[in-house]
Symmetry: C2
């Protein structure tokens, strides 16, 4: 049975489920930042998914990228599957602005994370649920 | 007509062409680091490719990831499409080791790039051509 990694759970707010992935909002007020986690056990590398799973993952990356770009009107989307710290396969999808605190560098290790205002995260979660046509998880 | 971005050209050694992407070796002796560039004009975001193109890109990401991991026996593959500096759509595929100079951080901005020894880059290019069953480009 698939379970979300504890560190990912602690750092994020749940948006909902696409057919393959749990969609999470990374709670960092510096950037609008979503994370996709395929809900299958024991995945570490992209190549641990079979070809059909990878195709679905790419479809969901594109859907979430378009939803995030459409809502934020950001200048660039950054997509990354790193996993050096949290092994469970997860894909970062980050809205970047030329005015954000790390631009043009990648976001990692640049400025300290700070929790978003609840009103701000609620707004983004609601917008993403609407754009992706997914509901809040039950229970 | 598609042309490779000048900065990408300057920083890399050409491995060859898969059906969609030019495969490049990023010439940084700190990490075995490949870059895939879809050979289609005017691509910036993943979502600028249509669904069929994205599926092919994911297939090539998986092929190159497997080839790089198989050859280097690295601990983790990092995959990223950032594009904040070089706008032309390109995907980094980096072999990471627990002993490398940036581990467990992402590689960007951690240590200074240095050119590889030619013998070292030749070995990796030859191994990747063999694993991916692609030849050197002509002319």
């Amino acid at each position: 049975m698939w379970q979300l990694d504890q560190q990912l759970r602690g750092d994020t707010i749940t948006v909902g489920d696409l057919p393959l992935c749990r969609v999470l909002l990374n709670d960092d007020g510096n950037y609008p930042w979503l994370i996709l986690v395929p809900r299958r056990e024991d995945l570490v590398e992209l190549t641990d998914l079979n070809e059909s799973g990878r195709t679905t993952l790419m479809r969901e990356i594109a859907q979430v990228s378009a939803a995030l770009k459409g809502h934020t009107r950001c200048h660039k989307i950054n997509v990354a599957a790193l996993g050096n710290v949290v092994a469970q396969l997860h894909v970062h999808i980050i809205a970047r602005f030329r005015t954000d605190p790390a631009w043009p560098n990648p976001v990692w290790g640049k400025v300290k994370r700070f929790p978003q205002e609840k009103a701000q995260s609620d707004l983004l979660v609601t917008a993403m649920r609407s754009a992706l046509q997914i509901g809040a998880l039950q229970g």
